[in-house]
């Protein structure tokens, strides 16, 4: 009798993991679906945010780089005038100060020098000033 009861208990203990899995599996599937939905939702949100926050190329440059870019653009645009007045065709032979003196925009030289040779960080205000100066 005792032997029979031990056998039944043993079998029941053996069935426990199976019963546990039977109850657990459906819940686990539901959870996975929820997780998948969550991920999809999150991904959609990220995509939406990504579209909103997408940074254009000029904004990705630092203020100093933007000032240098503007300077280069301005010098290349006025290349003929600089070459004729400075008597040298290669623009790399001119300092920023020389170029700005020829073009009569001394502020351009000052801002460029700050961006190129100084240890200080340029500000957005400097970029705006450079933009205004180069327009003239």
């Amino acid at each position: 009798m005792i032997q029979l009861s031990v056998f039944v208990i043993y079998k029941l203990i053996g069935l426990l993991p199976l019963l546990f899995n039977l109850f657990k599996l459906p819940k686990a599937h539901v959870k996975d679906e929820e997780v998948e939905e969550d991920i999809r939702e999150r991904y959609d949100n990220v995509e939406k945010l990504g579209k909103k926050r997408r940074i254009s190329f000029p904004e990705a440059l630092s203020p100093a780089e933007r000032i240098r870019k503007r300077y280069k653009k301005k010098v290349l645009a006025s290349q003929d005038r600089i070459a004729s007045e400075g008597k040298r065709s290669d623009m790399e032979l001119y300092t920023a100060r020389e170029c700005s003196e020829i073009l009569k925009v001394p502020q351009m030289g000052d801002l460029y020098e700050k961006a190129r040779y100084s240890p200080y960080e340029c500000t957005v205000e400097d970029v705006k000033n450079m933009k205004n100066v180069c327009k003239n």
């Binding site: 300077y71 290669d90 623009m91 790399e92 032979l93 300092t95 020098e113 040779y117």
Partner: protein
Amino acid sequence: MENIFIRQDFNIKRGCKKSLFCNCHTKPGGNRRNLSFPEAQLDRFMMKLSMGPLDREEELAVLERYMESEPLDTLSSVITLEELKSAKVAASHIYVHKCIQEYIVDIVAKTRKGDSVVMGASPRGGLALLKCAKAYAYLSGRTYCIPDDVKAVAEFVLAHRIVLSYSMNETNELVRRILHNTSVPTEEFSS
């Protein structure tokens, strides 16, 4: 001037104070045989400046100044020793970007090239050019050096260190030509 000593006796040499200036004067168009220094000694002079000839107005002003008094008697210092020392310290802290250092090295290297060059500027010349450019930037009220500072002082710092095969007086012109034809560290315009 660098490596300077005052020779008090034949056997005693004392290093000078760092604030000492050493000026050597030569007459304009002076005879080089009488007033020449060895090249190694010339290299120790930081700068060679020329006041140039006086024009008529300036010569008249000199006569007027010396008419009744001796201006040297009333000459007073324009700066104290402490001010000079603090200015030297401030000038030594001027920031020099790597590209400016490379620009200086390029200029000095070009003084050694050419068929007519017997001796170009030494590395000591490059160091002097760096120091003078920093001082020029400081006097211009900036805390960083720009290529224009180097250009402004290069002729006075390098010309007397160069020896040419044909003429000693052409060295200034050579430095001017080098400055005129050396690329300045700005942007790459060719690409």
